[in-house]
């Protein structure tokens, strides 16, 4: 199978959906000729024109609001939010308007829009360009949240998101834009709410989101050499969450670590851990562990930034101790 980058995969997904459905359009800052700072959208304006690849002023709440109104009246906007950190700027339009419109109208109005944005630290971009804020929006009923972990996932999830009749937020890890993976030439979609078991195991379950899937896979490789068999699972979407697959694995291995790049407190790791505790308690041999980003604003200095996010070494270390039966109190 051919290998392409995550960036190319997203670009292909958008182009295919825009060819398929003339109501799909892209709106955001420097999305047209510039193709965004990450160049993910390069070439799209040449094919689809500036009517469908729409450059906006630097006004995140404004273009988010326009996308909500456009979605309510018969189009499918893909909003490009240059950095995930800018979510704080669009909160009213996303969470008070887009997320609630279908419910508040008793099901009469739909808001089929996609908000493409990114996440991920260690790019030396400091506290306002490095956050992973998916848990923040996952808290709001009415939004769906997708977290692709590879080029293959990014393409399939984006195509599904565009066809979904709800507001969907997709978080791409900005450090993965150049990562290549096998992506078929033929069309495919990845359904929401179906976790992917990347590797089967019997001793411990490692659940990772986005780039943390790679971290879990690397940890699993190390553990395998020591005779510890780890199961690695990617939920793909945290809303909807495939609880069934996660619980099934937890019951099988009896030990679980959840790894996510959002802040550890009040985050995705806590939510998943809690569901496993509530629904698989008698199958567990150890407390479910959370590994999130440190509860600090992301620091600029490389010496500090690198220690704020989970690494394969830390995941392997915690897994080893859990399997040995050590009583671990999470940091």
């Amino acid at each position: 199978m051919r290998k392409i980058t995550l960036s190319q995969a997203v670009n292909e997904a958008l182009a295919e959906e825009m060819r398929r459905d003339p109501t799909v359009f892209i709106i955001g800052e420097d999305v047209a000729e510039a193709g965004t700072p990450f160049k993910v959208l390069s070439g799209l304006v040449e094919e689809f024109g500036t009517q469908r690849v729409v450059d906006t002023p630097i006004a995140e709440p404004g273009f988010m609001g326009i996308a909500v109104g456009a979605a309510m009246t018969g189009t499918r906007p893909v909003v490009d939010l240059m950095f995930g950190d800018f979510l704080f700027l669009v909160m009213d339009q996303l969470c008070n308007q887009a997320a609630k419109t279908h419910y508040m109208s008793g099901g009469k109005l739909n808001v089929p829009l996609v908000l493409r944005t990114n996440m991920g630290a260690t790019r030396r971009s400091a506290a306002q360009h490095s956050q992973s804020l998916h848990a923040l929006v996952a808290h709001v009923p009415g939004l769906k949240i997708a977290m692709p972990s590879s080029a293959y996932e990014a393409k399939g999830l984006m195509k599904t998101a565009i066809r979904d009749n709800n507001p969907v937020v997709i978080f791409e890890d900005k450090l993965m834009y150049n990562d290549k993976a096998g992506v078929p030439e033929e069309e495919y979609l990845i359904p929401f709410g179906q976790a992917n078991v990347l590797q089967e195991g019997v001793d411990i379950t490692l659940i990772g989101t986005s780039s943390m899937v790679q971290v879990c896979q690397a940890a699993a490789e190390v553990l395998a050499k020591e005779g510890i068999s780890a199961e690695v699972i990617d939920p793909r979407t945290i809303v909807p969450l495939d609880e069934e697959t996660l619980l099934k694995s937890a019951k099988k291995t009896s030990r679980v670590i959840i790894v996510d790049e959002g802040h550890q407190s009040y985050g995705v790791t806590g939510e998943i851990a809690s569901r496993i505790n509530e629904k698989a308690f008698y199958h567990l041999d150890a407390p479910v562990l959370r590994l999130g980003a440190m509860d600090v604003p992301v620091p600029f200095s490389p010496a500090l930034e690198d220690i704020t996010v989970p690494t394969p070494e830390r995941v392997a270390d915690q897994a080893r101790r859990l399997v040995r039966g050590e009583l671990i109190h999470a940091a």
Binding site: T23, F25, Q51, R52, T56, P57, A59, P61, G62, F63, M64, G65, I66, A67, V68, G69, A70, A71, M72, T73, G74, T75, P77, D92, Q93, N96, Q97, T101, H102, Y103, M104, S105, G106, G107, K108, L109, N110, P112, P141, G142, K144, N165, N166
Partner: protein
């Protein structure tokens, strides 16, 4: 009253009168439901501002869109909604426009192009502009009117979307209902400079109009809607009007921010319905008796709708998690 356009016939004028009277009657009934503790929550009365909603909506087609506000019953009625579904919604009943999930502050009636009231002040400005974006992108000649109050002119979103609407020549009309008060504060205390000047700064043609004169509002709106359909939008209107009640129905003792004398003056001397009624009679378009009979019919309709809504079913509890996500 301003001179009427020749294109209007008797039925057009009576329809404007009927719609204004329907709004006033709706609000009188809603207020009674609140005062008699039959309505959950609270609500914001549109009484006094009828000529704004009616003058504008009578210049629109059913397929044109509007976005409304927390003070939105008037817009909803003017855009074609029925009393029965509206009162059911206000009382949280299953047959309400939103199956009781929205209530007074979120009534939407998409079948008549009402994209919904909004409980965030200024929250619908993006939505209205986006609706106009859709019309342009899909090549339709629909126009969108964004209703908002003077209080919303302090929100930043307004300036972001007016900038884009002007850059892209979108068919949207920003209709600022200036009723003199931003909640419990006089507009002069929250608005620096000129409200019209803010739109003009983006190169948007802006007009101030007497919002108590339904014919003046209607004539201006017809011109602007027509020009919007030809791609000459966006436009901005500041409609000078007055809110008879407090900010909401519970805002009873309000002399600390405005006098009873001021309220009396607007009600007695500038009421949009009384003024239009006198004009209709003076022009020989309707007799006092005909208008009395029309009012009596509207009151009977409203009473029947209120009675129906009071007896109507609440939604089944199984609906609580329905409509969180669309299929």
């Amino acid at each position: 009253m301003s001179a009427a356009k020749k294109t209007h016939n008797t039925e057009d004028f009576l329809q404007m009168y009927r719609q204004m009277a329907r709004i006033r009657t709706f609000e009188d009934n809603a207020n009674q439901l609140y005062l008699s503790a039959k309505m959950p929550g609270l609500t914001h009365m549109y009484s006094g501002e009828e000529a704004v909603a009616v003058g504008i909506c009578e210049a629109l087609r059913m397929t044109d869109k509007i976005t409304s506000t927390h003070r939105g019953h008037g817009h909803c009625v003017a855009k074609g909604a029925d009393f029965k579904e509206m009162f059911c919604e206000l009382l949280g009943k299953e047959e309400g426009y939103c199956r009781g999930k929205g209530g007074s502050m979120h009534i939407a009636d998409q079948s008549n192009g009402n994209l919904g009231a909004n409980a965030i002040v200024g929250g619908s400005m993006g939505i209205a502009t986006g609706s106009a974006f859709t019309a342009k992108m899909l090549g339709k000649d629909d126009v969108t009117v964004c209703f908002f109050g003077d209080g919303a002119t302090a929100q930043g979103l307004m300036y972001e979307v007016m900038n884009m609407a002007a850059l892209w020549s979108l068919p949207v009309i920003y209709a600022c209902e200036n009723n003199g008060y931003s909640e419990y504060t006089r507009t002069e205390e929250i608005a620096a400079g000129s409200i019209l000047g803010r739109a003009q700064a983006f190169g948007i043609e802006a007009h101030q109009v007497d919002g108590q004169d339904v014919l003046a509002v209607n004539a201006l709106t017809e011109k602007l809607v027509d020009r919007c359909r030809k791609g000459e939008g966006p436009f901005f209107m500041e409609l000078m009007t007055y809110r008879y009640h407090g900010h909401h129905v519970g805002d009873i003792n309000r002399e600390y921010y405005r006098s009873k004398q001021e309220e009396r003056d607007w009600k007695e001397n500038r009421d949009p319905i009384i003024r239009f009624r006198s004009w209709l009679v003076a022009e020989g378009i309707a007799t006092e008796a005909e208008l009395d009979s029309l009012n009596a019919d509207i009151r009977a309709d409203a009473s029947a709708a209120v009675e129906y809504a009071l007896q109507a079913k609440y939604p089944d509890v199984s609906e609580v998690d329905m409509h969180v996500y669309a299929a």
